[in-house]
Amino acid sequence: MFYREAGDFKTNYADDSQTFPIAFDRKAYYAAMFVAFCVIPLVINSYWEKSVLVPFLVWSIAALGLNILTGYCGQVSLGTGGFMAVGAFAAYKLMTAFPELNIFFVVFLSGGITALVGIAFGLPSLRIKGFYLAVATLAAQFFLVWLFNKVPWFYNYSASGQITAPERTVFGVIVTGPNAPSWATYLFCLTILFLLAWGARNLTRGRIGRSWMAIRDMDIAAEIIGVDPLKAKLSAFGVSSFYIGVAGALFFASYLGAAEVTEAFGINQSFLVLFMIIIGGLGSIFGSFAGAAFMVLMPVALKNLLVGGLGWPTDIAAHLELTIVGALIIFFLIVEPHGLAQLWRLTKEKLRLWPFPY
């Protein structure tokens, strides 16, 4: 309905394969970016930061990461929580060992370390496929959490076994720990998310992305036409873990401020991220965002409704919330197994063809 595409044609391949080939979409994207970068920081408050925006940003990064591995490369992983823990602990060790190191480097180095760990745990994927692999990734989840729990070096021998984020600044503004202003943590996470999302888009539209998708869609044929499964799978594990590691570092440093490994990075987080990409849409960058938004917003909304609105005890609300989340997930899978991204695509198609039905 809103699309006016006549005359919006492509005269070269660069234009033809751009991320938003339709001018209208491009404008909408710029507008969204303007709001995200220039408007929200001005109006953000602590509640929105802590319960909606920053968790959304951080989970989006994690969802992007898992979507690369599962959605694009077809390797189901249940080790997301463990890999986030690697990112968080790497960030903690780096921050405490090298206080001078810029926080951006810390975050990206943490991602790098997680990538190496991810590649190591991805090695079995060369022999194991499908659910066997999914279960195998649980080994990473349990082993890593156990490791960070049992080896005091990781939490600098603190008595509680907790790690606490020291304050680090960007251009003199605190962005980590409990004293960081809302807008600063928000902008910090947003910037990193923006860069990573852009990178994810680039990786998935080119040679590497196609090698992932080929492995996903038909691994034997992919190998026969020249895709090296070793490189494809390990690069997916590496890149995916990098994203998840960064998410873990931000989750710890900017969002929680302090973390205890079994609580913050348990298996439930693995499932949470998996839900995000399934509900959002496998193999879709947009889906990662949509799924993260859905899974972050829905509990907040339910809680507001049940506890704030109806005044129920929190434990009953929590149980009801679990029930509703479970039911909604099933409902979603039945109604649109390809997720919100597909729903969005269909809606867009409808709008483009408006007033025609097809």
Binding site: N12, G206, A214, D217, D228
Partner: protein
Amino acid sequence: MTHTVAEAASDDLEYAVKEIQHGIPPRVIGEPVMEMKHITLRFGGVTAIKDISFDIREGEIRAIIGPNGAGKSSMLNVINGFYHPQEGEIWFRGKKRGPMKPHEIARQGIARTFQNIALFKGMTTLDNIMTGRMTLMKTGMLSQLWWWGRAQAEEIEHREKVERIIDFLEIQHIRKTPVGRLPYGLQKRVELGRALAAEPKLLLLDEPMAGMNVEEKEDMCRFILDVNDEFGTTIALIEHDMGVVMDIADRVVVLDYGKKIGDGTPDEIRNNQEVIDAYLGVSHD
């Protein structure tokens, strides 16, 4: 303005040499590109291929035929390295081939299609064919991440080549359609496109006409001949439809129960008593 017709004709002679360059030389069948020597392949106790030797020459269309279960598909899988024979030697372009993974063999210039279409269902026609050029693309992870510059330039360079193939196969209208939604005949064509995209030295086609109606078969035959003709690609194909094979192949190998029972031009095969018997034996098939 005194340039006459006669002069124009002599100009033609003058440009005769160039003419040959621009018109393309007639099809020449050259030396063997691939030689299979005494190949034996076993699965556990079952012998799928027994002591088979034959060669494939540069520029020819070579057919491997035989009834179901004759070992044709296994043979193709041996050629592209998916199965490793227990005995025998494989020579490719004058060199004996050592143990190699399928993707390494693809890199050497062997591409193939599959009997039960093996397209990447979640990707578009364009992406499927682009994936066929995987072996020819080089940019690394960091360039890809940055995109602008090398990665994009490479992408565009290969897109241009792929678009030629799309044009050649007349599948422009489905360029951006996910292949899962395409009808069978078009999927077969896309798969041929994916194999062609690799610019192979040897193209293997596994029952390219299986499950097609007469019209689609005719189309596919035309494309196979055109590929061989326009690009000079060496083609080895498996078919159990004798009729089609006899029309388009230069030479034919006949397998039966894992053994070679005939090898020669279509005419020779037609008159080969052993082949006739084998086919009569399965004529109810």
